[in-house]
Structures are given as structure tokens and as C-alpha cells.
Point group: C2
Chain length 125, copies 2
């Protein structure tokens, strides 16, 4: 699997995203990580393996512990790929803005909705 | 699958990312898309299904054609999630910058590496 696909595949799971969010605060051991998620240590270990393969985390040995730390570089590359299309979502908002401004311009400054209704009514009468 | 996981899972494939890159240029039919990728129309259709389920594209009916268009909103959410961690990768670059500046300061302005070597050599002699 190419590195960018591996990163996105690793991010495609809410537990793995939560693990990264926790590691963004600082190093943590498998035990530290298993606690708040109420899932087994082996399940955590499996998630950590996916994150490690994607280069999103690394583990160092500290006596009997193997604390994990986040490696942010693949996140940067994942962000960069999506940000190529920023214009598409910003363009859509710009067009909506323009449309709302046009609507605003079309409405005469002094006329309130009720005044318009009254005018139309008097014309009809 | 939660929406963000579905988006990342859809992005975890180079052909699907290439389809999105093509659709960012404008609408395209399955036929238009199958051409440059040299993969079968059924394979393209399968990829389009994954992209549709993630809300990344939509298809409209135009007589016998069903042109696809990109929907950028999920890409924005995918970008937003990764950008939460921007500080981590920018912080690392800042620290590298500071380290290089410190190295620069420690090096006396007049001393060149060859001058240092000569000094050391003459001391030994």
C-alpha cells in the first residue's frame, strides 16, 4: 500500500483517531491507552500496529514499557492532499455569499415585507 | 461506519483519489473516467460506489448517462481533523529552526572548519 493510502486507512477508524488525539497530548503506554477506551490491551496493540505501519506513531523501549509517541508528518501529508481541493468548498461558500448579497440588493432598502404586501393589496383593490 | 471513517476509507486508494482529482476539474461519466485509468468500467463503478457512500461524489441522470460530480464537504471535514494537529508538525519544524540558529550562534564568526583543524593539528605536534 502506498504511504498516503496507509495513512488514510489508519485514520478510517474512530478508536485509532482517539488514540492519536491522546498521543498528541504526550507519550503513553499500551496500558495508559487501554484504560479510557475500555477495550482489551490486545485490541489496542492491533490498532497500534496499523498506526505504526502508517508511520503515525513510533514506540521506544523504556525498561519493561514501550511508550508510544505520535509522528505528525503523515498527518501533514494527509492534510496537504485534501487542501488541494480547498477552493472547491470555499468556492461553494463564496457563491452562496454572492447569491445572498444579490438577494439583499434586489430588496429595496425601505420596503419591509409587510409594506410590500400592503402595496400589492392596494394595487389589487 | 461513521462519516469521517467512511471518508478516510474512501481516500485510502490511489485510483479513488485520482478519480476525485479528475472530478475536481468538472463532471465526468463512468466512460470518461474508465479511459485514462485503463481499468474496467465495472471496477470504476465499484470505486464510484465507495465514493458515493462517503458523500464525496454524486451522480445525476442525463438521458442514458449518469455524470458524476465531486462534493467537497467531506474533504473539508477530513482536512479539519488532520489540521487539529498542525501545531505538532509545525512545532517540530520550529524546534529544528531554533536548534540550527543555536548551532550558528555557537560557531565563532571568524573560525572556518579548516582553521580549527589546523589549530588542533599544531597542538598535537
Amino acid at each position: 500500500m502506498d504511504p498516503l493510502s496507509a495513512t488514510y486507512a489508519a485514520l478510517a477508524d474512530p478508536t485509532r483517531r482517539a488514540i492519536l488525539a491522546r498521543l498528541a497530548q504526550g507519550e503513553a503506554t499500551v496500558g495508559d491507552l487501554a484504560g479510557p477506551f475500555a477495550i482489551s490491551a490486545p485490541a489496542i496493540t492491533k490498532h497500534l500496529r496499523v498506526l505504526t505501519r502508517a508511520g503515525l506513531i513510533s514506540q521506544r523501549r523504556d525498561r519493561q514499557f514501550r511508550p508510544c509517541r505520535i509522528d505528525a508528518e503523515p498527518l501533514k501529508l494527509a492534510a496537504d492532499w485534501t487542501l488541494q481541493y480547498r477552493e472547491l468548498w470555499e468556492g461553494r461558500l463564496d457563491r452562496l455569499d454572492k447569491y445572498l448579497q444579490e438577494l439583499q440588493k434586489k430588496k429595496p432598502a425601505s420596503a419591509s415585507p409587510s409594506a410590500t404586501t400592503t402595496n400589492r393589496k392596494s394595487k389589487k383593490d
